[in-house]
């Protein structure tokens, strides 16, 4: 059996695992559940050898082992099918499935005939209809995911980790997958199954392990636990999908205000399928949902950074037609990313440069700005938004995460956008800075700015958002406003337990 105990893992200030544990017995399918930031992905990646844990121990058959690399993970009999896929898109199906375990032939060459035979057998077993010489990138996402699972199974693992593999799959492929997982279970393989589709747990799994905030909060057999209880352990709330309280006349949409953004049937291949949303001037719209339900792609499409493949977006009365973020910024859109390092802060440049970066970019190329202007401008912003800094000349990397984020928000507000987009802006930000960021956003909205804020921690949306759109598998599963802004309804919507998505089917 495989066991992890007292696992700890930090990423900078964010605690991903805080004493979590997980057991996997032979011949058992165990669902590993948790909402955003619960640490389940981190746990999977530690077992797969992608991350090393900071503390805790992993044991195989009672012996303590260390898993420092993908190779070590394989050697202990662990195989993983990753949600983000470990296939190499520019290589053929054959080469991908055999990568690292090519059958040996004469003179150190690969036995092509045997490799083809093995791969064909694998494709047949998984019912995958594809040319084994085709490049992975020419195949549909669902086929790619099936191949990812096939690759993991082909390693004949003792522990198979499946990380949200069903999301891109079609109904018939899921049935094939379930059949194979059950076959493996009969052969005595341990399977850890990560999913956000509640229906699959009861259909497939024997045991559930539920994680929350980096800790393991519940272990139970699927016979002795029900859906509401699972959701309760995941989120701390009981869902209320079935007793939907419609509050008459309260769609939550403000009257007497102008519509700024009107999104209809928006699709962004392959993550967003059908999103409808209206945002009014001076409104704060919250976007909630589990991770990877299409929220980042949706926000980036409004910014011209992700290509819209279907539906329409009206922005300020005109068709939204931003080819790049430059167009969007000139059109009055601001964007604050939660991924400060990659999309927001210039870490080695000074604080004042960081604050005035937007202002500089919005001017004409070669427009002259005096040092005095920049200094006054940035010290004004620092004071106004209460950013804790040493000196304006210090590099932005000298600030704490929360202050860096305030700096980025200050940069954008200085440009006075009509629409401010925030993608998980408070990730890894301390409570105090978070409260201040909320205050800044509320002031902006009061001034007529429309704010769309996505957050992985849904509790914060209750505090600031007028209306909350909940994403599930690339669709809006519910819109909460007024009296319907309750934990129970939000949790139900996040789990896809509403309307046509009640049973968690994507198609």
């Amino acid at each position: 059996m495989f066991e992890t105990k007292e696992m700890g893992k930090r990423f900078d200030a964010v605690v991903a695992l805080n004493g979590a544990s997980l057991k996997a017995y032979p011949g058992e399918i165990r669902a590993l559940l948790g909402s955003n930031g619960s640490g389940k992905s981190t746990m999977i990646k530690i077992l797969a050898g992608v991350y090393g844990p900071d503390s805790g121990e992993i044991s195989v058959d009672g012996k303590v082992v260390s898993i420092g690399s993908g190779t070590a993970s394989r050697q202990h009999g662990i195989a993983t099918a990753f949600q983000e896929l470990s296939l190499i898109p520019t290589m053929s199906v054959l080469d991908n499935l055999m990568l690292g375990s090519e059958p040996k032939g004469k003179f150190g060459m690969v036995d092509r005939a045997e490799a083809r035979q093995k791969v064909q057998a694998l494709l047949d077993r998984f019912g995958i209809d594809c040319d084994m010489d085709a490049y992975i990138q020419t195949l549909m996402p669902s086929t790619q995911t099936m191949l990812e699972v096939a690759k993991a199974v082909s390693q004949k693992p003792r522990l198979l980790l499946l990380d949200e593999v069903t999301a891109p799959l079609y109904h018939d492929e899921i049935q094939v997958l379930f059949r194979i997982v059950r076959e493996l279970k009969a052969d005595g393989v341990s399977i850890i199954y990560v999913t956000h589709r509640m229906s699959e747990i009861f259909e497939l799994c024997d045991q559930v392990t539920i994680m929350r905030s980096g800790e393991t909060v519940k272990e139970a057999s699927t016979n002795e636990i029900d859906l509401d209880e699972i959701v309760f352990h995941m989120t701390g709330q009981y869902p209320e999908a079935h007793a939907e309280k419609e509050v008459a006349g309260d769609s939550g949409e403000p009257t007497g205000r102008e519509v700024l953004l009107d999104v209809r049937n928006l699709a962004i291949f392959p993550s967003v399928w059908d999103v409808n949303m209206k945002a009014y001037k001076g409104e704060i719209i919250g976007i909630a949902g589990l991770q990877g339900q299409g929220q980042p792609e949706f926000i980036r499409s409004l910014l011209g950074a992700a290509q819209i493949t279907g539906g329409s977006v009206q922005f300020d009365g005109k068709k939204l037609d931003f080819k790049s973020p430059v167009d969007a910024v000139n059109g009055g859109v601001g964007f604050v990313s939660g991924d400060r390092k990659r999309e927001a802060v210039f870490p080695v440049r000074s604080i004042s440069e960081n604050i005035s970066a937007g202002k500089i970019a919005s001017g004409q190329l070669g427009a002259y700005m005096t040092g005095k202007f920049i200094k006054e401008f940035s010290s004004g912003a620092v004071e106004k938004y209460n950013i804790k800094i040493g000196r304006l000349e210090n590099p932005a990397s000298s600030l704490s995460g929360g202050n860096q984020q305030k700096l980025v928000i200050a940069r954008w507000i200085a440009m006075n956008p009509t629409l401010l987009l925030l993608d998980d802006p408070t990730k890894g930000v301390d409570v105090h800075s978070r409260r201040e960021i909320h205050k800044i956003l509320q002031e902006c909205a009061a001034g007529g700015m429309t704010v769309i804020i996505s957050s992985s921690e849904y509790e914060e949306l209750f505090g600031i958002a007028d209306r909350i759109y909940v994403f599930f598998e690339g669709r809006v599963s519910d819109m909460l406003a007024g009296a319907r802004k309750t934990d129970e309804l939000l949790v139900a919507a996040m789990m896809g337990m509403t309307g046509q998505n009640k049973d968690g089917e994507a198609m």
């Binding site: 990568l99 375990s101 690969v110």
Partner: protein, 349 residues
């Protein structure tokens, strides 16, 4: 017919497709401007192959590195290194030409391994490391041979530029050796690992492949091929020159990209052949174009700078074409996938 169409559409998806189209275009141009009878005469084909063989082989060598996700712009000056080592070991130590050549090849492999240490182990940016190496090797070359000098025994260089059976250029043997080595390597695990490492080192590592080791192999193979190219160059010029072929480093990179390589994990040896062929054919075409113009317009005199200007402009256009086509292919792929996905979704709903 359907089968032909099927294999054509498969070929269109391979990396070599744009390189093939560009090469065919340049070849046709060259044949027309030179005159088919002239172009296809055994003698002129013999010269075409013997004088361009070193370049063709180093484009292949550069291609092997690009597959593994790195590159070597000092590959040009390494040809001169092979050249001076071969000539000087023969001249100073009295070795036979064959023995001298082995030293030359060994020198190229050593230079490649040094670069591997800089790029894969110490992780210097590959362009920078290659640039620095260019100057180091220049110094080494001049240290070994201060001024152009030396000769190759007549039978060797004569054999190189001879025609086997009266019509097969002997220099093709060098290409055949290189292709045979690659044909073997392609069938070993290295043949797929090199692509995995080039495209995504993390995933390759997760699959139990050591990217550093695979890159070492790639560098050594590149060194071997560079050595063979350097011997061709020595046979072609029949003398030593410590400072030749330096700009071939960047040219080989350009040829590889035109042929369809990207920086990491995409591209085949066919890409290298087509890319190198395109460059050579364009240079020839421009030469013959100016010859023809000089006949038509009496008194027209142009310097070789104009030749280079026109030829390199066309090569630049070729480079653009490849990059735009690759982008177009990617977009077409996405749209196609999306359609399939939607269709399948509807058929189930």
């Amino acid at each position: 017919m359907a089968q032909v169409r099927e294999s054509f559409s498969r070929f269109r998806r391979t990396p070599a497709f744009t390189g093939f189209v560009l090469f065919t275009f340049a070849l046709t141009l060259n044949v027309i401007l030179q005159g088919p009878a002239n172009f296809f005469s055994p003698n002129s084909l013999g010269i075409l192959f013997s004088s361009n063989m070193p370049f063709l082989i180093i484009v292949i060598a550069q291609g092997v590195l690009l597959m593994s996700g790195t590159m070597d712009i000092s590959i040009g000056i390494q040809l001169a290194l092979v050249n001076v080592v071969t000539i000087m070991t023969v001249q100073e130590w009295g070795l036979s030409f064959v023995m001298g050549s082995l030293f030359g090849v060994a020198a190229a492999i050593v230079a490649s391994v040094v670069l591997w240490v800089l790029i894969s182990v110490i992780r210097l940016p590959d362009l920078l490391a290659g640039f620095a190496m260019t100057y180091v090797i220049r110094g080494v070359n001049v240290f070994i041979m201060n001024i152009p000098q030396g000769t190759v025994a007549r039978p060797f260089w004569q054999a190189y530029s001879s025609l086997l059976l009266g019509f097969i250029p002997a220099s093709i043997i060098a290409l055949a050796v290189v292709l045979a080595i690659w044909a073997y390597l392609k069938r070993t695990p290295f043949g797929t690992h090199v692509y995995a490492v080039g495209a995504n080192p993390q995933n390759a590592f997760a699959a139990g492949i050591s990217p550093v080791k695979v890159q070492l192999q790639a560098f050594m193979i590149k060194g071997l091929f560079t050595g063979i190219a350097g011997i061709c160059l020595t046979l072609m010029t029949a003398s030593g020159n410590p400072l030749q072929a330096e700009d071939w480093g960047l040219r080989s990179l350009a040829a590889a990209i035109i042929g369809g390589f990207t920086f990491g994990g995409w591209g085949t040896i066919a890409c290298a052949v087509f890319g190198a062929g395109f460059l050579v054919m364009i240079q020839n075409s421009v030469y013959f174009l100016f010859n023809w113009l000089a006949n038509v317009i009496p008194g027209l005199m142009v310097t070789s700078f104009w030749h280079n200007f026109i030829a390199d402009s066309i090569i630049f256009l070729g480079l653009l074409t490849t990059i735009i086509t690759v982008r177009g292919q990617r977009e077409a792929l996405r749209i196609n996938l999306e359609k399939k996905y939607m269709k399948r979704g509807e058929s189930i709903a």
